[in-house]
Amino acid sequence: MFQQVVISGITVGAIYALIAIGFTIVFSTVRVVNFAHGEFVMVGGLLYAWLTIVQQIPLALAIPLAIAACVVVAWLSYELCLAGMNKDNHIAQVMVTLGLGVTIKGLAQVFIGKDTQFPPSFSSGSPLMLGSMSISQQSIWIVGSLAVLLGLLWAVMQKTRIGKGMRAVAINHYAAVLMGISPKRAAIIAFVFAGLIGGAAGALLSPVASAHYDNGMFLGIKGFAAAILGGLGHPIGALVGGLILGLVESLTAGYLSSAYKDAVSLVLLLAILLFRPQGLLGRALPNKL
C-alpha cells in the first residue's frame, strides 16, 4: 500500500509542480502573483475534454490545440489586463488577476458548459507493473511531461538569449532595462510559458480528475501553495514544493483520512510561512542595499 500511496502522491505532486512553475515564472519576471493562473489550468483541461468528447478530435491534435489555446489566453490576459498597468501598484495588479480569473471561469462556463467531463487518457493500455506496484499510463504521461517541460524551461532560461534576458529582468529589473532588454517582452514570454505549462497540466490532469469550469480556483490554490512551499520565484522550488505537497496529501489520505488532506497541507504551508517565509529553496531577501 505504501508504494501505491507514494506513486499517487508523486503523480498529484507533479501536477502541483507544473502549476507552481507558472506562478513562479510570472512572479519572478513580472512581480505579480497571478491569481488567474488556476484558470489557465482549468481551461487546458476543459478544452481538452471538449475537443475530445464533444468535437471528437483525435488526441494527438486535441492536446496541442488545448495547450495552444491556453497560451493565447495567457498572452491575452497579460496584453489586455496587465501590460498597461502601473507596475508598482501591486494591490491593483492582484485585484486585476482575481477579476481576470472570474472572467475566464465565466467565459468557460458560458461557452463550454457546466457539465463535468471525463476525457480519455493520453494513451490507453494497461498500467505498468513494477513488482507489486501498478502505475497508470496517465501517471507516466504526467511525470514524463513534468521532466520534459522542466528540461525545456531550463534550457531556454540558461542557453537562449531571450531566457538570459528574462533571468536578468527577474534579478534586477532596472539593470535589465539598461542592457536593452524589454521587460514587456520578458513578461509576455513569462505568460506564454505559464499558459503552456499550465495548459499542459490541465490537460494531463483531466483524465484522472475530470474537467469542470469551476476547478480553476482550487487548482490555483494548490499550485500557489506548492510554489510558496518551495520558494516563490524559484523553479526547482516549484518542483520540490509540488512533490512534497502531493506526497503529504497522498500519505494523509492513505493513512489518516482523505478528509484531512487539505488541512494537513495547509498546516504544512503555515509552518513553512512561519519558520521559513522564503520557502524551502528560496534565499532570504538580502537586506543590504
Binding site: V177, L178, M179
Partner: protein
C-alpha cells in the same frame, strides 16, 4: 565643435511633481568627454536617467545622434549605443561575471560572443580571475569594473558613467580610470558624472556644474581646475 552626438535643449525631468532637473541645455561633440559635477542631490543621476529614458517624465528636447530621443524606449536607446552605467553599479548579483558581461551585448544581437567576452575580461585582470564567480560576491570596486566591462561590450557610442569612483578603493579607481582614458583615446564619447570633482576634471574635456537641478556653469575642465573662484563653487569651499 564637430557634429554633436547629444544635444539637449531645455530638458527638465520630474519624479511626480518634484523637478529634479530644470531647463538643462548642453551639447556633447563626437569624441568629447564631458563631466557633470555637483553636490549630493543636485540632479546628476536624474539627468542621466532622463537621457537613458529610464526616467520618462521629461520636457524639452533631447537629440541623440541626430534623432529626437523622446519617441525612443530605453531599449531602443541602448540599441543605438547610448549606454548608461548606473549609480551603484547594478550588476546581476546572482549571475556570474561572464554572464553579466554577456548581457552587456544583449542589444547587439550577435551570435558568438566568446571572443568579445574574453577581451572585455582582459580590460580588468581582477575580473578575469573571477570570471566564474557570482557578481554579488565581488567587492565594490570589482563590481564597478564589471559594470564597465559590461558597458564596453555593448559598443557604446555615448557612454554615461554615474560615479564610477563611489565607494571604490583608490587603487581600483585608478584602474577604472585607466580604462576610461583608453576609451577616450578610442574616440568614445563620454558623459561622466562624479562627485569627486578632481577626478572628474582631470579626466574630461569640458565640465557642467550642476546644483539644485540646474546647470550653473559650463567650462573647459582645465580652466575649472585652475580657476580658484570656480573651484570654490565646485569643491564647496
Amino acid at each position: 565643435m564637430t557634429e554633436a552626438v547629444l544635444s539637449v535643449d531645455k530638458l527638465s525631468a520630474f519624479y511626480g511633481k518634484l523637478c529634479a532637473v530644470r531647463d538643462a541645455s548642453f551639447e556633447i561633440g563626437k569624441g568629447e568627454t564631458v563631466c557633470v559635477i555637483g553636490p549630493n542631490g543636485a540632479g546628476k543621476t536624474s539627468l542621466l536617467k532622463a537621457l537613458s529614458g529610464t526616467l520618462s517624465k521629461t520636457t524639452g528636447v533631447v537629440r541623440y545622434r541626430g534623432q529626437v530621443a523622446a519617441g525612443l524606449s530605453p531599449e531602443a536607446r541602448v540599441r543605438r549605443g547610448l549606454i548608461h552605467v548606473p549609480e551603484g553599479r547594478q550588476v546581476f548579483a546572482s549571475m556570474t561575471v561572464e554572464e553579466n558581461i554577456e548581457l552587456g551585448a544583449y542589444a547587439r544581437r550577435v551570435g558568438n560572443l566568446s571572443g568579445e567576452i574574453e577581451s572585455a575580461l582582459r580590460l580588468f585582470p581582477r575580473l578575469m580571475e573571477r570570471r566564474k564567480q557570482l557578481a554579488g560576491t565581488l567587492s565594490g570596486g570589482e563590481q564597478q569594473m564589471l559594470a564597465m566591462a559590461r558597458a564596453v561590450i555593448g559598443h557604446p557610442q555615448l557612454l554615461m558613467l554615474d560615479e564610477p569612483s563611489m565607494g571604490v578603493a583608490p587603487i581600483m579607481v585608478a584602474e577604472i580610470y585607466k580604462q576610461v582614458q583608453a576609451l577616450r583615446e578610442q574616440g568614445v564619447t563620454i558623459l561622466l558624472v562624479e562627485q569627486n570633482a578632481r577626478i572628474a576634471l582631470g579626466n574630461s574635456d569640458r565640465a557642467l556644474v550642476i546644483a539644485s537641478g540646474e546647470i550653473r556653469h559650463q567650462a573647459r575642465s582645465s580652466e575649472l581646475l585652475k580657476d580658484g573662484a570656480v573651484a570654490g563653487l565646485v569643491f564647496g569651499h
